[in-house]
Symmetry: C2
Subunit: 704 residues, 2 copies
């Protein structure tokens, strides 16, 4: 009897399948079509300005318990238009407009019963969509094995990509095409501890430039309770498919329904500057969960850090005794190696330097027990986060920093032992607060413990959220390194000031970053959130420190100033040694002046992997700052000063490459000049190969 | 040049290989011989009373980086005799003698260089040995893959064993022989979430009775930083080999040298009572690391617990809404299921009952958010340990318990999510202290998270230590369920009052435990430490609660009283419902009287899997208590009262099976009688099939 009834229902509802749903962006430039095919497979496609951008591609989820792949019919659709503005705690803009049309497509399947809603939001600068799995009549606990989201492009576009990897994104970027991707990926060497995917898998965020000149950033927003998404590339068919990072048991996610996936995002424009300006990923994240954000303070900081990279054999470790075990060894009995910069006297010098130059904070790496053998040995206990080394007098430094008005910044390197970090988390944060720290740089170098996990598998995504939520409880700001790359969650947790999650400035001492590197990162990695790239490198030749070391940074000195504009972050390092800033005090003035929080931003010129010119207004004054960078080719940037309010006179202090500057041959040749400028004026600004320019524009003082 | 030198050294030192080393126990009954064979493989053998007990067997460790297996020569031996006495915080004796002869055999191997010391301690009641790996010239970080310890017996002995399993030891015991072991293991069904080993692997502790009538308990002591040891049985050759529990990546242990393994232990005697009396495993553990132990207080406790086992559909969960998620769901908005005993009113009844009868504590299970779907779903967040259910008014209960002089006992079921428990550990313990709790029962039902781990792999051994150490910091006592089985670590951490780690009394509601079960556990499982077996079951037929439930406990009522003596534990449950104790108030008097801590113990009769008779002296008075149990056959126990000090008159209150009692047909037939007794008297005490007797002996009041 029951069976007959079910069959009747099936016939009835099958007949009720609705027509394809369609929606456009507010401007009408983007058009989205969603349908189910003859097998009941959900499909979607995207047009941009009347041409197909994404051809019909399937959507679906596969689990051990049930499938959300086919047999579906559309039982309901719902559309709504939203236009609202919100104020971020920090960022490139004081106001962010969140304007989209939303389409929710409710799908049902029978035999067995399944329900799923596909929710799309189409903005003028792109779109996002996610899977929403409500409580089912069937299984409500899923062992997720695959996500079938397809991105079917239509031609042999240019791709800006890094190789698929479950553990690291610290790669240089390839500029290639679908058909040339396999060769490009072959050129990468494998990281020691990391697990590269096979085949032609790449990571998100990534950028596409279509053969029609349309730019597409592909990423995700609000990654929460789910693994990071990579992309399997079908080079013959110009297609991509979602590739969820699995744990080492082959499971992508353990889900309890109801559950919504992160948003899959495409930022789309035929103007490259729109990609940089887009706030789409933040818009798809939830508002701040932190009510009182008054304690969240953007900052610049110096650090006991670069000393360990410069080839002079300085170490994070206090001793060379590799038998040391935190919690077991009495570190006061170890023989100091004498090459340990995180010592009281040296840290005081950094505090003095910061105080003298108005730098807010001092990061100290290598202050705590455990560095003697710190990475790669997979110990269940690697570090203690409340045990300073014997030569790091924390009470004295705490008091000294406070007296000087400087904040010490804590460092929590975990050697990727996230499990042990969780075990120590409360006491680590309490220890920070007890010692007047309110910001921490976290690190996960090595292979993850729990050993079932990868850096970007579901458990580690959860871990990152646990850390940021608990940090918020303690009113602690976080700059996380080697964590899952950002997906706009800093809107929800604005104490998450910055992340690394890409090949940063530290690589300038390990082979170098080519100048193009920082011209592609803002189009890709930075769409998820700020990067602790560590700009401000004045001494770019590693041979300065160590004659045997031939690494050289891919930059001129002036370009390093411009990075404070082109790589915006509310937690911005002043990365070089104090002695190097003291060699170039006039150039250092720009770093002292430049803000780290903005009320407005204007992208003036941009082409991925080539150049970026951006102007930003200080959040706390009417001053404007401009940064311009180029790749390894010299360039003349055009700086259109139309953004300056009319009716005022302005003076621009220009920090620029000297005429003979060159990142390789003459990196430290710079000039500083001051000129009067007017709104609407178009400055022509020459950039050296690998160079850049940084400009501060202030209102001209009225004559008394 | 260097090479030549090395070769010369090799020749020289090879010639220096020393003779086999030998040592006997203080009594001379045990003789140990250690040597290296022609391939430089370390071998050892053990004689007992002039006959071979363990024939020559190899010793060695295998890692990815290097091997400690062969090529060795003995370069030094060292012997020492130790005789000392220590006082445990609680236990069966107020003084424990630690008397042994120690032999340290230092081994070296060349090409590559390796060093290892084998340390043996030979006691009158057995021996222990361990591997000590000092800092090497070679690799000092080992990915341990195997331990080659062999135990080569000489005949087709009787084995008392449970199946090899990486996740559970909650099995009934087989009494079998080497040759019949495969058939015995075939009779076990697989636990759902657990991973059985293949082949003829069994767990430790296990017991052997040789064809000569010698009893051998094989286990380990001081399991720390290493996985649990199972035993691969070679049934044809009567041999066993260590089998370390691996993680799911196939690694047994990640070691940093220097490192000492746990002790491999053999408790040996031809008198079965000596096996029960042995303190050898405690002697091989380190002294207490807790200096002030005044807060550690042995206790009896009742619990909101058995209600959920009795078939009346009571639940740990507050609601039947399976979509509930701790930390996300507002539990006050859920519909209560009305079958949730951990509610304020019911808990107050238990507090009243405990207060009325002088029971120290009340355990409450199911008090916190997360039970709606609690095991098997592998959620990264299953429970919150500081969020009571809406119907559990913790402040009110805290105050009520305090007013009544009763301690609430916390329950931390983790659903085997050890990682999330570590993340919450500090706040969970702080929450306990804030609410006047000082003891916790922990639980790990399900498959372990981190998903790389098993219940007894190295990481979980470390986890258990983290929990116990941190509990000690908060002055919290621990009763852990589903944790790695004990290896005497309660000496080092005396706040570790009890563990489950075997098939406990709860199984009486799930098929039952045969009477023999509690006659083998003291010979096996209990050698590692006390068990929270949960004695005191007065209503043994599950049909009392639910007519459809035919499970019946393998016990008479009187036997349940005897278990307080034969299953000693400083944290002893009074497991039944208050209503059942109120039905039998005269029998309940024994449970109210019986202590849980002892100054002396005398094992009077014992045969594994058959019977045990033991007398114990209360640590806080001169009262003696006797417990006697048998298997499913009736028996007359002989209770030799020679242990009573002469010169006094005594009265014994005897709680015994009625003449017609029988565990299956008439379990609740008991008698209580009071008789005068004298030192040296031999009481003949009948025990029913599946029965037992419990006796309290007090000094007779002198006439005034």
């Amino acid at each position: 009897m029951k069976k007959t009834f079910v069959i009747s229902t099936l016939i009835l509802t099958a007949a009720m399948n609705m027509a394809a749903a369609e929606i456009t962006s507010p401007s009408g430039d983007l058009k989205l079509v969603v349908d189910v095919d003859a097998q009941g497979v959900p499909v979607y496609s995207v047009d941009y300005k009347g041409k197909t951008l994404v051809a019909p591609g399937r959507l679906g989820l596969v689990s051990d318990e049930t499938k959300f792949t086919d047999g579906f019919r559309i039982v309901d659709t719902d559309t709504v238009t939203v236009d609202r503005t919100w104020q971020p705690v920090w960022g490139e803009y004081s106001d962010v407009r969140d304007h989209f049309r939303e389409l929710a497509v409710k799908l049902k399947a029978d035999n067995p019963d399944r329900e799923m809603t596909l929710r799309f939001r189409v903005f003028d600068d792109g779109l996002g969509f996610r899977y929403e799995l409500p409580l089912q009549n069937g299984p409500n606990y899923l062992t997720l094995k695959d996500e079938l989201t397809e991105f079917n492009y239509t031609d042999n576009h240019t791709l800006f990509a890094i190789p698929g990897d479950y553990d690291t994104d610290e790669y240089l970027w390839s500029e290639t095409t679908f058909t040339e991707l396999p060769e490009a990926l072959n050129n990468y060497t494998r990281h020691t501890e990391a697990q590269r995917t096979g085949g032609t898998t790449i990571q998100t965020p990534m950028l596409i430039k279509t053969t029609d000149g349309v730019y597409v950033n592909a990423h995700e927003a609000a990654l929460d309770g789910y693994p990071a998404m990579l992309l399997d590339v079908d080079t013959a068919n110009y297609a991509m498919k979602s590739h969820l990072v699995p744990d080492r048991l082959g499971v992508s996610a353990y889900l309890q329904l109801p559950f919504n996936t992160p948003w899959r995002t495409l930022i789309v424009s035929d103007d490259a500057r729109d990609i940089l300006a887009s706030q789409l990923i933040y818009n798809l994240n939830e508002p701040s969960k932190i009510e009182d954000t008054s304690w969240i303070k953007p900052m610049k900081f110096v650090g006991v850090w670069w000393e360990m990279f410069t080839g002079n054999e300085k170490t994070w470790a206090y001793s060379d005794d590799h038998s040391a075990k935190p919690g077991v060894t009495d570190y006061t009995k170890l023989t100091p190696n004498g090459r340990h910069p995180a010592n009281t006297e040296n840290v005081k010098k950094y505090i003095d330097f910061a105080a003298k130059h108005g730098i807010d904070g001092v990061l100290v790496e290598g202050w705590n027990e455990g560095w003697e053998d710190w990475a790669g040995y997979r110990k269940n206990r690697q570090f203690l986060f409340d045990k300073p080394y014997p030569d790091f007098d924390l009470p004295a430094l705490r008091d000294y920093a406070k007296e000087k008005g400087v904040k010490l910044i804590m460092h929590h390197e975990t050697a990727a032992n996230a499990a042990d970090y969780e075990l120590q988390l409360d006491r680590a944060f309490q220890f920070m607060k007890d010692n007047n720290y309110d910001a921490v740089k976290t690190g996960y170098v090595g292979a993850i413990i729990p050993r079932s996990e990868h850096h970007t598998s579901q458990w580690m995504v959860d871990h990152a959220k646990h850390v940021i939520e608990r940090a918020a409880e303690y009113q602690i700001m976080v700059d996380s390194h080697e964590a899952p790359r950002p997906t706009g969650l800093a809107r929800t947790y604005p104490n998450w000031l910055a992340q690394e999650s890409a090949r940063g400035g530290e690589f300038e001492s390990m082979g170098g970053n080519p100048p193009s590197h920082t011209t592609i990162l803002p189009f890709t990695r930075l769409k998820g959130g700020p990067m602790d790239y560590t700009p401000g490198l004045f001494e770019t030749r590693m041979s300065y420190y160590n004659e045997g070391k031939d690494s050289q940074a891919g930059t001129t000195l002036a370009r390093q100033l411009a990075l404070y504009l082109t790589m915006p972050s509310p937690m911005q390092m002043v990365c070089d040694l104090p002695e190097n800033y003291e060699r170039f005090p006039d150039a250092f003035q720009f770093i002292k002046d430049v803000p780290v929080d903005w009320s407005d931003s204007k992208y003036l010129e941009a082409e991925p992997n080539r150049y970026i010119t951006v102007a930003r207004r200080d959040k706390n004054s009417d001053d404007w700052y401009v940064g311009a960078i180029t790749d390894d080719k010299a360039r003349v940037a055009t700086i259109d000063l139309s953004f300056l309010p009319k009716g005022e006179k302005y003076v621009a202090t220009i920090y620029e490459d000297a005429p003979d500057a060159d990142w390789k041959e003459n990196p430290q040749a710079y000039r500083i000049r001051t000129v009067d400028v007017k709104p609407g004026q178009k400055l022509k600004q020459r950039l050296a190969p690998g160079g850049g320019a940084a400009i501060r524009i202030t209102k001209k003082a009225h004559k008394k």
